[in-house]
């Protein structure tokens, strides 16, 4: 045990009977075929043991430091702060190896899978950042890797497809539905149902059946833990607002987790407004509200019709193009602890360009949603934004949109 560890992947727990949350208020659960239930139990047990195991922690901490490059900087964005009229700090997950926060989770889960004796790793990916992170760790640890990616996303995120293949992963294009993240996730779950005995499924966000939402949060809260210590060190106070983009919501929950108990810190999740909330073509189930539903194994805020068919999301950013969000986000919304807003495609692209020229940082289109919201606020005292990833992968998409 080492309760004082800086990377501490241990959220506060209320009861030793429920060491990993299966439910967040009415949300969460395990809505999967019975075939997978033993694997979920096995994963939960393995995680309970691993996170308190000094060897696992030491391996993970070493890789986070020497391989990923953690801690990532907390950068006071000078010109952005001038433009906003208040200090704005960027938590630079774009400087994490592979270019996004996704590596934090991939390292933790693939290391865990290796401990569990799994030989084969599968993952879904939207923007390709989670796929690249998973393929990277599989190369590092010598594991077989299959990545499911919607055909639409293999097109708009081609550089990441090329990176994954170069890393030795098999990229499996998914040609169903809207050919994006939802279908890629469904395809990965079907693979897992079929190969569950040899395979670990590295879910890339805080979605899916328990224990995934809690497991992925625990592995991502390194973002918030670092950022909280860094802002206290730099400013001697906590931020007034913590802002992050939300697709499934892993960078957001990873950042929020460290601040949830700081009641004066406002938590803001920024979803994909797509072509506008009123058009129905968006990816903002938390913002819109409405009846909860079940998608990919857990109950949460989702986009569905009145009969329960899942509705296709829409976003210019592949990573936010998802009709669900993590169950803990839905609970944070309902309890009023966090609020969720939406930013349109056009606003995100404008912010993508503006931040690039203001700060010399090309943010991921996903992250650009959070930055667009910050740029649009004229109030506030001190904002901390999770710069969840870099935007090199998005150049073709943004330049294409610009010409259209």
């Amino acid at each position: 045990m080492s309760a004082g560890e800086q990377t501490g992947a241990r959220p506060d727990r209320e009861s030793s009977d429920a060491p990993i949350e299966h439910r967040f208020g009415p949300y969460g659960g395990q809505f999967v075929p019975e075939t997978l239930m033993p694997a979920l139990a096995e994963l939960e047990q393995a995680w309970l043991q691993a996170r308190d195991d000094g060897t696992y922690r030491a391996q993970l901490d070493c890789l986070l430091r020497d391989f990923a490059g953690r801690p990532t900087p907390l950068y006071r964005a000078r010109r952005l702060s001038e433009r906003a009229g208040r200090p704005v700090y960027l938590k630079r997950e774009d400087l994490n190896h592979t270019g996004s926060h996704k590596l934090n989770n991939a390292l933790g889960q693939v290391l865990l899978a290796k401990r569990m004796g799994k030989r084969r790793i599968i993952a879904e990916t939207g923007a390709g950042q989670h796929g690249v992170a998973t393929a990277t760790v599989c190369a590092l640890l010598g594991m077989e890797c299959v990545i499911y990616m919607g055909v639409q996303d293999t097109r708009r995120q081609l550089p990441n497809v090329q990176r994954m293949e170069l890393l030795g992963a098999t990229v499996h294009p998914v040609d169903a539905g809207a050919r994006t993240l939802k279908e890629a996730t469904s395809a990965a779950i079907r693979d897992w149902v079929t190969n569950v005995e040899s395979t670990h499924y590295v879910i890339g966000s805080v979605v899916g059946p328990a224990p995934y939402p809690a497991l992925v949060r625990d592995l991502q809260r390194v973002i918030g833990d670092e950022a909280r210590a860094q802002i206290l060190d730099r400013e001697g106070r906590l931020p007034a607002r913590v802002v992050a983009c939300v697709g499934g919501g892993s960078n957001a929950i990873g950042t929020f987790a460290a601040f949830i108990d700081d009641e004066d810190v406002e938590l803001v999740g920024v979803e994909a407004g797509g072509e506008g909330i009123d058009t129905g073509r968006h990816g903002a189930p938390l913002t819109v509200g409405g009846r909860a539903g079940i998608l990919h194994g857990s109950r949460s805020a989702i986009m569905q019709d009145e009969e329960g068919q899942i509705i296709q999301a829409h976003s210019v950013s592949a990573g936010l193009d998802y009709p669900g969000a993590g169950p803990q986000h839905a609970h944070l919304r309902d309890t009023g602890r966090a609020r969720y807003v939406a930013v349109t495609d056009a606003e995100a692209i404008a912010a993508f360009e503006e931040i690039t020229r203001l700060e010399g940082i090309i943010p991921a289109l996903e992250t650009a949603h959070a930055l667009a919201w910050v740029l649009a606020q004229d109030d506030g005292e001190l904002d901390l934004v999770c710069l969840s990833g870099r935007g090199d992968k998005d150049l073709a998409e943004v330049l294409g949109q610009g010409r259209a």
Binding site: F31, E34, T35, M37, A176, R190, G308, Q309, I310
Partner: protein, 274 residues
């Protein structure tokens, strides 16, 4: 309906007990594929071909337990306009001639509210409900609602299911125990899963209701193997959905395959069943 109302579980039990075949034949059809009208004809063809229990699929946008053939059929059914009301009409049209069990993913059961969904299902004349993404640990609310209306909530077990879970699931099974023969999704396979006989034996040991084997059974020979292993029922899905998509007349095509399966399952002293 007249006289004393028979519960869904009782109707299903009568079908298992009354079949002359070596195991009850349980065809699956996707509601609304290729159309709702054709679904009714396909269901009737199944009954004429020897179906003892009919499994009716509700098309869903994200069917996690299904392989590509049933997934594609569901997508096509939705594109052709199938909805809950339409598929329940198919159930109603068939319910007098055969016990119908609806297979429907969890989100569609919860969307209108569990109670409301189960009430509509009951009114359609169906006998039971299978929810492939509702494991035992999550099933209490749906089970209670089904029990109140005498509908059988049929649970699934898989080769991976632990002995402890099997006991829990088997004790709460209504109608029959849907025993998944393979670790995987629905779909035709060249051979039954290596462990299918063991899977059947484990299932039978944990429950008093009939054990039906499904996922991956497509030929008369495989159906006979399942019966020989002790399965009380044999579920055939993908093979029939494929037939519905291939033939000029889907009902004729499906009926032909069902008849072959029924003939295969006929007692050994009979040449064929019709």
């Amino acid at each position: 309906m007249s006289g004393v109302r028979t519960t869904g579980a009782e109707r299903i039990a009568e079908s298992f007990a009354g079949t002359s075949k070596r195991a009850a034949l349980m065809p699956y059809l996707m509601g609304g594929f290729p159309t709702l009208e054709e679904s009714v004809r396909i269901g009737q063809a199944c009954v004429e071909g020897g179906a003892d229990v009919l499994e009716l699929g509700m098309p869903y946008s994200d069917p996690l337990a299904d392989g590509p053939v049933i997934h594609a059929a569901g997508t096509e059914a939705l594109q052709a306009g199938a909805n809950v009301a339409g598929v329940l009409e198919v159930a109603r049209a068939l319910a007098d001639s055969v016990p119908v069990v609806l297979m429907c993913y969890a989100n569609m059961v919860y969307a209108p509210g569990v109670e409301a969904f189960v009430e509509r299902l009951d009114q359609s004349g169906a006998c039971g409900l299978i929810v492939p993404d509702l494991p035992q640990a999550e099933s209490a609310e749906v089970l209670a609602a089904c029990d109140r209306r005498d509908l059988a909530l049929v649970p699934l077990v898989a080769p991976t299911t632990t002995t402890e879970s099997l006991a829990l699931i088997g004790a709460r099974a209504r109608g029959f125990l849907y025993t998944v023969s393979v670790v995987g999704t629905t779909g035709e396979r060249r051979a039954l899963g290596e462990r299918f006989a063991e899977v059947v034996a484990r299932a039978k040991a944990c429950t008093d209701v009939p054990v039906a084997l499904g996922f991956g059974i497509s030929t008369p020979a495989q159906a006979v193997q399942a019966a020989d292993a002790g399965a009380d029922g044999v579920i055939v899905g993908t093979r029939l959905v494929r037939a519905a998509g291939e033939g000029d007349d889907p009902a004729v095509a499906v009926g032909l395959v069902v008849s072959e399966l029924a003939a295969g399952l006929a007692p050994t002293d009979q040449r064929s069943a019709s």
